[in-house]
């Protein structure tokens, strides 16, 4: 049956059809929907793991046991999972094991623009890169065969435009794959030096075999057109190249981006007059071609930064782009903002009022950094808020201890905040850590996590008690506040900053977008009382604006959280 499917949904379909049995992932844009969609198939056990390293090790365990397994993550998630990746490249697999990594060129929802192909090269693991949803489904299925044939985990690399574009997929039924027998094999699976030394030559030999495979496999294909121009490309760049050149160029489309073929590329190059490499982010294929002694055009004209598009490729390669209309007008930007009723807003307002240094983390609450709150000093990676505040306070001592906080969400805390907190408990800095517990993984679109009490299917699950956890780690001061209550936030923050001991404040209130959260009636403006002082505007709530010198509430957005009322000295907000 023909259906429109997101690339991520199609990849999940491929997992299903290939008989995959176990999926463990941590959400991250643009990879999240693979696992959400896989969870809709009852034949696959699916879970959200606390982080990507755990997820990959779960998938490895399932593979070791003999079943086909999968883990999915965004590009930066693979940094976290790099440790198991590099060594399961040595052990190889029992049941097929497939890893999805989704890159985010253009950084629609990411903190950097790293190119995951480097991981495939560095870990010596094959990597497939689909260019649309049909390929995502097909490659996922073939990846398991490849994994079992070559005794290796296989990475499928997605990017935002493949992951989040819908295109036509032809589905087929699931094939049940019998589990491979589990057999104890110390030499293969116990990676201590004596065994790992013997596995490394296997890895090198496997790469040589995979290069031979890449020369003729159906992941790579040549589409001959005009031979004046030859293009080597992969992923969504292939689609842009076809859009611009059609059959006015010959194309070598690489679906297997590690290892790269040699003869296939040299043969293609010999048939065309000029060779152009079109690839987003780093010059991986380009450098490979240069090593083969080919003269190519690539990053000398195309950018390393950002996403490509058909016009960008046309412009850089001297093809005319369509004319367009334009307005001679400066448009105010529309950056993303914390939602109306977001529980993080009251807390960040309090941090701003107290002129705190705020070491931030990854989540919706990173939006605390934007105007008018501007209440964040640093965001690096998952968990860095807590580890960094310890370093910051150790460096500055009393100069920073009384005015510096770390802020981290509940899911991010479970992901990699706990180890940082253990360091504070162990090496004792006078640090104040605020866990923003909105009872969900918010930014990626509401995934459950170990603190919510529900699993990926929404069924009751184990629930980690944050207060008990922090106390067990040795924190004697653990306070819980409601971020809708500004006076309470301010009082507790001041107390915990003043005290000479490490402390944890849990700012607890569920995400206002959660379906089960009951909203109050929208706030009403009493126009007679409003003097237009704009005090309420300091919150940066998208539901409040000023019209003709008076506050106006957008009743379609306001959820009646009442934080603005606490700022109005004239009783104008009711």
């Amino acid at each position: 049956m023909k259906q429109l499917m997101l690339g991520n949904q199609a990849l999940a379909r491929g997992l299903y059809e290939a008989g995959c049995s176990v999926v463990s992932s941590y959400p991250g844009t643009p990879s999240t929907e693979v696992t959400e969609e896989a969870a809709k198939y009852d034949e696959i056990y699916c879970e959200w793991a606390p982080n990507e390293k755990v997820a990959m090790e779960v998938a490895f365990g399932a593979s070791l046991a003999g079943k086909r397994s999968f883990c999915g993550m965004k590009h930066v998630g693979l940094n976290v999972a790099a440790d198991p990746l590099f060594t399961c490249a040595y052990t190889g697999v029992n049941g097929g094991m497939v890893i999805c990594v989704a890159d985010d060129p253009g950084m629609h929802s990411s903190q950097n623009e790293q190119d995951s192909r480097h991981y495939a090269i560095a870990s010596k693991v094959p990597m497939l890169e689909p260019a649309d949803s049909a390929e995502a489904c097909e490659f996922a299925k073939k990846a398991f065969d490849l994994s079992e044939e070559f005794d290796t985990p296989v990475i499928i690399k997605m990017c935002t435009r493949v992951a989040h574009s819908q295109s036509v997929v032809e589905t087929s039924p699931r094939v049940e794959i019998p589990a491979k027998p589990y057999e104890k094999n110390i030499a293969k699976y116990v990676m201590m030096p004596g065994n790992a030394i013997r596995r490394h030559p296997f890895v090198e030999e496997r790469t040589r075999k995979l290069i031979t495979y890449a020369e003729n496999c159906d992941f790579n294909r040549v589409e001959m057109g005009d031979t004046k121009l030859g293009i080597i490309t992969c992923s969504t760049s292939y689609q842009y190249a076809k859009e611009v050149f059609g059959d006015k160029a010959s194309i070598l489309k690489l679906g297997m981006v590690n290892p790269l073929p040699e003869k296939l590329i040299l043969d293609f190059a010999s048939k065309v007059e000029k060779l152009v490499i079109i690839e987003e982010l780093d010059p991986v294929i380009e450098n490979h071609c240069k090593q083969l002694g080919l003269v190519v055009t690539g990053k000398d004209v195309l950018p390393i930064e950002g996403e490509f598009s058909q016009n960008l490729i046309a412009e850089k390669l001297g093809v005319e782009v369509p004319a367009s209309c334009s307005l001679d007008e400066t448009m105010p930007g529309r950056p993303p903002v914390m939602c109306a009723g977001c529980p993080h807003r009251g807390l960040f307002f309090t941090l701003k009022q107290n002129k705190c240094n705020v070491l931030g983390d990854i989540g919706c609450y990173t939006l605390g950094a934007v105007a008018p709150l501007n209440a964040m000093d640093m965001t690096l990676c998952m968990g860095a808020s807590i580890s960094s505040i310890h370093g910051f306070n150790k460096a500055l001592g009393q100069e920073s201890e009384g005015k510096t906080v770390a802020v981290i969400g509940d899911s991010t805390f479970m992901h990699s905040g706990m180890t940082g907190l253990a360091n504070i408990a162990y090496n004792q800095s006078n640090s104040t850590v605020i866990i923003l517990d909105n009872s969900i993984t918010g930014m990626t679109g509401h995934q459950q996590n170990p603190t919510t009490g529900y699993n990926i299917k929404g069924d009751p699950a184990g629930k980690i008690d944050l207060e008990a956890l922090c106390r067990a780690m040795g924190f004697e001061r653990v306070r819980v506040i409601d971020p809708y209550n500004l006076a309470e936030c301010d009082k507790v923050l001041k107390e915990e900053l003043a005290v000479e001991a490490p402390s944890v404040i849990i700012s607890r209130r569920p995400c206002a977008l959660l379906k089960y959260v009951k909203h109050e009636a929208p706030v009403k403006v009493c126009e007679g009382n409003c003097i237009g002082c704009k005090s309420c505007m300091r919150l940066g709530c998208p539901a409040i604006s000023m019209k003709n010198g008076k506050a106006v509430i957008d009743t379609t957005l306001c959820v009646g959280c009442g934080v603005c009322k606490q700022l109005c000295k004239f009783d104008a907000l009711q």
């Binding site: 023909k2 259906q3 429109l4 997101l6 844009t29 643009p30 999240t32 929907e33 629609h108 929802s109 649309d132 435009r161 989040h164 574009s165 819908q166 295109s167 036509v168 969504t236 689609q239 842009y240 076809k242 859009e243 598009s309 058909q310 016009n311 960008l312 782009v321 369509p322 004319a323 367009s324 209309c325 334009s326 307005l327 007008e329 400066t330 448009m331 105010p332 930007g333 529309r334 950056p335 993303p336 903002v337 914390m338 939602c339 919706c364 990173t366 939006l367 934007v370 105007a371 008018p372 930014m443 679109g445 505007m537 940066g540 998208p542 409040i544 604006s545 000023m546 957008d554 379609t556």
Partner: protein, 190 residues
């Protein structure tokens, strides 16, 4: 020949249902279809774009500057923001609702005036209407997306029944009546 429809608006306005409906309809008409969306952080009240492309064979999932046959905008400023994506003779179907972005709310910028006139002066064919009022008339302010689809349907050589069938296949049955009303209000209003 590939046709391009850009759907633009503010995160949370319901553009994903509009693109789902179009994708469904166009696929059932036998076209190759690609729909590209943005998820994640930019959805949080930010400017959002969805691309819908259809034709015999569609390659790129995105629409570039000067390529859009239609821009369907949930909000006036967003229509203007993406004007340069419109083809020379392209059409803008726009909800005249104004939603202040944060720089306007904080006073750092002004919401531009007379945008519809300016869009027309720039050479765009503009079909502007108050879709929010029509959606409320149909029974829910959330039906702006379907009002806009009703309006867009005027410019397609497809029987109205096919659009209605696509609505039935894309919305929960309990909202079907409301959405059919919203669709017809959008299609038939002056």
């Amino acid at each position: 020949m590939t046709k391009n429809i850009m759907i633009v608006g503010v995160g949370g306005q319901g553009s994903l249902l509009a693109s789902k409906l179009l994708g469904h309809l166009l696929l059932s008409e036998g076209y190759d279809v690609k729909v590209s969306e943005v998820h994640g952080m930019s959805q949080r009240g930010g400017s959002v774009v969805t691309y819908v492309r259809f034709g015999e064979k569609v390659y790129s999932p995105i629409i570039d500057k000067g390529e859009a046959d239609f821009i369907v905008s949930f909000e006036k400023l967003e229509a203007a923001r993406y004007l340069e994506y419109l083809k020379k003779d392209g059409r803008i179907v726009v909800n005249t609702q104004e939603i202040d972005p944060m720089p306007v709310i904080t006073g750092a910028a002004q919401y531009p005036e007379n945008l519809i006139e300016k869009l027309k002066a720039a050479g765009a064919q503009v079909d502007a209407m108050d879709c929010l009022s029509l959606a409320e008339e149909a029974g829910s302010s959330k039906a702006v997306n379907i009002v806009l689809m009703g309006r867009l349907s005027k410019y397609f050589d497809l029987p109205v029944e096919k659009w209605q069938k696509a609505i039935d296949e894309c919305v929960p049955p309990k909202f079907a009546r409301l959405n059919h009303k919203a669709f017809l209000l959008g299609r038939e209003s002056e």
